[in-house]
Amino acid sequence: MIVSRNAAELVTASATAAAGALVCYGSLENGVSWGASGPEPGYFPFYVGCLIILGSAGAAVQALWRGGTGEIFADGENIRTVAAFLLPLIALAALSQWLGLYIAMALYLFFAVWLGAKRTALSAFLIAAITTGVNFVIFEILFTVPLLKGPVLEYFGIY
């Protein structure tokens, strides 16, 4: 599977334009005009969203103007490398919403070291346990900042 540079440019431009449209739509809920006491809350984000759309349009026009140069953005191997890095990260974010940050961190480190870096399961387990423990001590005990815990730790009375 080969993705051309032009296709990637166009997809990125549409994605950022969609983000800009979302920003514009969101700020419309707060009012974008100039009220009695100065600009309304949505005034600044609205024009930021407009600039995002304009910039995306500019980038897309530039990409179309240049035409197909045959430049390759990514081939199969590149995509596999990025996916091997990106998909676990997405899994980490999803897991941390469900199980809390610490368990997700430990699981992510364990599998990243074991399967990603091809170390032994024991060293992966040790790295995951020690890193999670150090993070727990730093954030929960020293800094007293409660991070997301999730149902498992709350069941054991840690929250």
């Binding site: 983000a19 809350p41 930021v48 995002i52 910039g55 954030f139 800094f143």
Partner: protein, 304 residues
Amino acid sequence: MGNFGQLMDGFAVALSTHHVLIMIIGVLLGLVVGVLPGLGAPNGVSLLLPLTFGMDPISAIILLTSMYWGALFGGSTTSILFNIPGEPSSVATTFDGYPMARQGEALRALTLAFGSAGIGAMTGVVVITLLSGWVAQFALRFGAAEYFAVYFMAFASFIGMSGGSPFKTLVSMMLGFACATIGMDTISGESRLTFEWDAPHRRRQLPHRGDRPVRPRRAADHHGGRRQVPGREGQAQPVDDLPHHRGAPALLGDADPQRPDRLLDGHHAGRTDRRLLHELRARPPVLQARRELRQGRARGRRRA
């Protein structure tokens, strides 16, 4: 030269064995915070604040400042080793530090970065102490228009000096601006670009100073107007979806009596803390204290 004498007095206080040990701890903690991208020196200082409650003021300030400078240097570690600045201030280190690391001179680059951070911090402190009076006079004349001009020049030069397409620079910069506007507006206190995703969490939170049901868009019948303090009517009723909190009042009865005030301070500073809700459910008097606080603030505003 009055400033200079005071500076020397400061060094005399700071350079005791106890304080130097605290400096070492602070710089090491700062390194940890600085290496993590996104956790900057100011965040690190605010994270470290609870740790300093039990310390004497001088040690606490020394710990916080050492941690600040440690974090400023810590950012350059990732700049040199991974080409990823851990701090905004260490972006420039990626320009020459990362190439040095690629040539196998990472240790030398780190040493130079550490040395220059130390010399720079020292010179900066001495210079700012000697010039502070003069600089303060200048800074007072720096108003909104001047700030706007400086920021505008910075962002315009990003676009002008960008290597690739200026459109892409514009888009990524504006995406950053858009991300910065998510959440509470600092002027009106309204939540922006949240699409009411914060609503389920907010139901469990105190009414924030921003939650004024003044705008017709936030119709009272729809959002329930001003959000109710959980447990205000029932006075510490157990909440159904949190069954394991039922034993909390007895436990918290023995807790540090200053704690609710401290948590409330954090709440007023805009920090959301779930432990505050536990305290509030457990301790009705805190609600009374909060009401007094608000009345005090209202009085203050009227006077002003």
